[in-house]
Symmetry: C2
Subunit: 166 residues, 2 copies
DNA sequence: GTATATCATTACTAAATAGTAAAGATTAGT
DNA sequence: ACTAATCTTTACTATTTAGTAATGATATAC
């Protein structure tokens, strides 16, 4: 369960561009600020451009600008451009079917799916509620610290089994 | 932001072993149930054994058993054994420092860290609150659906900038 | 004590991701 | 037009992760 390098560094590049406001920001400048190679930053910005998140100007005084104002760009849009992540349990199962033609657990309505589903939905909700502007202004929404879990299904009585000591 | 194959398939193997209760479960049986190769299942179980989550019996009638009862094994312990994931923003920054000696954003108290930090803490909280027993019994805790975000910091007035149309 | 069934360990190959390199295309300024 | 500064594109290499293969070790049953 980890963010990819592309997501992390791509987002950082977006923030650099956002901080530059309406002054086109060059690859070289971003690369220096983030400690990355210009080739890598160029690649990341290219991805972001294809996704319509930044626009570019070529030639002298060229560089990158946000395609929209930072309060209209959510982290979910940026991360979606940078990597193809599952958003719910359906996609998780499709990604990990084993060698069987479909998820080995669908038949018994696997509970693992619910767990991953909860997690991905939560991630998605957070990313979807944070804009670049909020990040720039240090106004990051946080989860309510007291959020609690609740049980969805009814318990099924299980037989007791001896697990002794290893 | 994605779960790894090792996490997914490793967890499934744990669940198979858990379902088998006190009957040692062979690699071959798990492999068939999950549609994976015996070599791969063997590797995953070996990892889980080294982490103390399962115990093994060799020879005929051998196989794997849970090292503890399923209500004492959380998903967080299993996933931790299967992959080394960051648990908070500190670890994220350490993992992605760019080529600089430290995270390029620490100096300005980067807000990205807060976002990732929120996400990882949330993941951790969910995984930490789900046991194998809950999964087996389909008693999966879910986040409160109505959980809302709140803003941590004060707004900083930002200048208006023209983002025009691309 | 031999045969067989199981796990254990290591080394290898394959695939995905991360990151680099180099040559091409466009624009601004003169 | 020419030059230089910038992005563009493609192809390549390196690293990590996923998955396989083969040989070795141990326990059961007879």
């Amino acid at each position: 369960m980890k963010i990819t390098s592309t997501e992390e560094y791509g987002l950082r590049c977006m923030l650099q561009v956002a901080m530059s406001k309406d002054h086109p920001l060059e690859i070289r400048t971003i690369a220096e600020a983030e400690g990355l190679s210009t080739a890598y930053v160029g690649k990341l910005l290219h991805i972001l451009k294809k996704a319509g998140l930044v626009k570019s100007l070529r030639g002298p005084r060229g560089g990158y600008l946000l395609a929209q104002s930072p309060d209209q760009i959510t982290m979910s849009r940026v991360t979606e451009a940078l990597s193809r992540n599952p958003k719910d349990e359906e996609e998780v199962c499709r990604k990990f079917p084993g060698e069987l033609s479909r998820c080995a657990h669908i038949k018994e309505n696997c509970s693992l799916r619910s767990v991953w589903g909860n997690i991905y939905r939560e991630i998605w909700r957070v990313l979807n509620n944070v804009t670049l502007e909020q990040i720039l202004n240090h106004r990051i929404p946080a989860l309510e610290p007291g959020t609690t879990l609740h049980v969805l299904n009814q318990p099924i009585a299980g037989k007791e089994t001896d697990y002794g000591s290893a």
